[in-house]
Homo-oligomer: 286 residues x 4
């Protein structure tokens, strides 16, 4: 059964009376049928958040006029908002270094039809994954990175990403720190997986640090990338128990499973337009 075409609004604005009433009336009076409505209020900051998805089948406003029509309402409540349509396939680029567990997991989800997304390219600073990527019929770009060429290479990467109109960039264990030059234009659109339970063990070699500290649980964290290393808005985390029997090699092995699952959940939330970002945090209407 194909889903009927739907539209999704992601909204945030200063909290006040009547927002939900106004939004639902807008949809209702134009013959839309709400499929999902989620709302949240941060009472400390007095910010209102909502995600509304509605069926467009009988909606009286044509898809290409919704932005314009909704804008009046949006202005009244001083909203920041996005509109997404279910029949538009988002474009995702994957950055990876040498480890394949996250990449393989993503590619097999796309191949099996679990996700509706197009992956026009995979970019790597090494060539280890080239054969794997090309087998899936995906373009592979090799951008070797060193201290000298980093900025230059990032500029070229951005060019390619923009030319292909990439919507979201996934760092699937990409062992390079992106500069602000790269991060800025893709704000809240670069998803990273860090192999620790952030904020614990940010930075390099988290499994070694976890081993030294003697933790009884390890974790993985997926987050949007910001200029601060491993400090962006957290999308998803998960954990697994470890014990004194687990050496670093075991932590790495157990952690890989966490990493790929946590990253894939985060990507899925993003692709489903379920995430709103504010104050370096996420609201996720799961």
């Amino acid at each position: 059964m194909p889903s009927p075409q739907s539209a999704t609004l992601l909204i945030s604005c200063p909290d006040q009376r009547g927002i939900v009433a106004a939004i639902t009336r807008f949809i209702y009076e134009n013959n839309g049928n709400i499929i999902h409505l989620d709302q949240h209020v941060d009472f400390q900051e007095d910010i209102f958040f909502s995600r509304v998805e509605w069926d467009l089948t009988n909606f009286s406003i044509p898809a290409n006029k919704i932005v314009q029509e909704f804008n009046n309402l949006a202005r009244t409540f001083d909203m920041r908002w996005e509109l997404h349509f279910s029949d538009r396939l988002p474009k995702m680029a994957i950055f990876v270094s040498k480890l394949t567990h996250c990449l393989s997991d993503i590619l097999s989800r796309v191949q099996s039809g679990e996700w509706n997304v197009e992956i026009p390219m995979v970019i790597s600073n090494h060539t280890d994954v080239q054969a794997l990527v090309e087998h899936f019929g995906i373009l592979f770009y090799h951008f070797p990175i060193n201290k000298e060429n980093k900025l230059e290479q990032e500029k070229k990467q951005i060019e390619i990403l923009e030319k292909e109109k990439i919507d979201v960039v996934v760092l699937a264990r990409y062992m390079q720190i992106l500069t602000p030059l790269f991060v800025e234009p893709f704000k809240n659109r670069i998803i990273n997986i860090h192999h620790s339970f952030l904020p614990a063990f940010a930075g390099a070699k988290p499994y070694h640090s976890a081993y030294s500290r003697g933790v009884k649980i390890i974790g993985a964290t997926s987050h949007y990338v910001t200029a601060d290393l491993d400090a962006g808005p957290i999308i998803e985390q998960d954990i697994i128990r470890v014990s004194h029997k687990d050496n670093v090699e075991n932590l790495v092995r157990k952690g890989k499973d966490l990493e790929k699952i946590v990253l894939s959940r985060a990507i899925w939330y993003h692709l489903q337009n379920k995430i709103l970002v504010y104050n370096n945090k996420t609201v996720i209407f799961d």
Copy 2:
């Protein structure tokens, strides 16, 4: 900081366009400020569910008229609904046999002020917990149960519960099966804790069964009691890992911690009016 007085509506009705718009307009136009609004649609059954909590501070309808005023709206959408006020302290009775871990957990939560609830009585088929209960200044009733007197004793229990206007009955490891006579008048108001991950290991001695089956995870399940044993609507479940090293005694020990936490979470949801029941399932707006 005392919470401002609020009202909470729990609503379910056949799904149709405009329900949320109507509810939020009702509150908005009467100067209510929505604190929480959750909604859910079961698209398979076409049923709409909502929980709305709003601040009554400036609400133009007096508390004792809200039922009457809302009724018109409710009838339009064929709603089943409940209204709760935050300043009314619910009354809870606890049934227990001999094991104290759930009982102690509940009493210490109430004593420390974690929960807003009144516990006028504890009822038991044994006297083991009498001293513990009375220390908390709570009335203790002893109702020994055997095959012959069960119905008669239940009648007396119901009398006491009704006389005290008990809102919710908690079976905190009460090792007696209630008859339909008892269950019927307290539909969706009797919360049980079963010491297994239902529907696995319903009935007696679930830890022994779990041990025999060699499961790697055990669980506990809190549910509303229905006429069918351990088959009522599930409110909350949780699990813990076990291994071949755990004999039955260990499963019991580990399970006790699960039982008390799972039961207490279920009670909390109930006390916060966060649960809607339909089709022998629960919607929980947590």
Copy 3:
């Protein structure tokens, strides 16, 4: 760093004094260095279990004589035992129907070098996964199954498996029930993944049953296959939270991640010779 060659003994026998002393003396006096020693006693059944792994570098008994030498000791204690060498690559066959998530997960682990195992073949009752399998350079066999040809096809499958000296068979969402004819010769060597938290929801369509029952947690279970459907010795289980917001489609999606991780953990334990089976249960020295 290549591991030094090691030997692993899996032992079970009636419990009595002096077993560990005898085993460790056997290794110690022959200049073996114990890498891992795990032991467990089931005091209810009075059965002793042990897994001993030792470095063969300076071991004074040649590898091909260990069986013979250990046999005297084994007989004294009435042991059932197995001996494995770390440098022998086990052979694994995968059975699959149409769903690819478990298969892809396994293949990507083998390809990335995470597991030391050889996969000479994948067998399916459909042809959907043929291209995927052959891309990995693995032989694909198509055995369509219906009521009439089942036994005959199983016979042919067993022939191929035995010809290739397959050590372990993995049912990676293979939607056929194996007959005792097939199960018997591969006792404790067929690993299945069932998409529920067994013993709950054995048999067909467990996600539908979980949805109907309104559980708050779903699970997956990997077990050795026996003649009784979904009733064999459990190797590994794991769970994930669900809520009223999750329809069957969501349970399936969330469950897939569980299935592949749980199955892969079970396979890993098996490949590492960490599992002993008794009384339809497993001892896992993880």
Copy 4:
């Protein structure tokens, strides 16, 4: 069924061939029957660890001579070791400030017979819990702490603890930092509960920090207290999921359940003599 009297050895020493053989021979040749034998080797540090528990019923060495007899063996392998007898009731002192959830949990476990331990005293810097403590028939000591009197008060506390021969001190949400003066004599015998997933959010107000960082999971950590704040050897950790819907108050509420369960598990491991400490980490033979 009362357990037969047993002895437990906790051993660590440089790894070398023949340790287990020697230990088990010592027990076996003196007619001891091993109930539990666990061993672990840290191959990075080349340290051997073991926990051996054996039945003393027919043991040929009298209990009061075991230390002396074992000492020869211990010296050969350069062992650090402890010997515990199952029939000796350990003495535990609890330190607490104002919050009662951990204290109540501990007291109800002791009262119900779940733990074999004697609690001769509860010490607090406030008087809030005095009535609760005294109801359980336990001595309550009030030691108000401020910057000026801290060292002096600690000295008095140590005096009382030593006079009562306290074996283990539990900080059940004791909101004071102990000085090295106090910590030193109770090395690996002071168990603290910290309300975060260490090493994340060490120090004050971890729930506020977790809220600000927008984590999706919160945790609690029980550890032995050392001179460095929240940096001692971790005994046990556990976590619970949170979301954008959880404000700080909710994190505190959810966290309390974690804290009491995690602390109680850590105490249980300690009381069962299942913990060995080295390199600021723990080996736990659970």
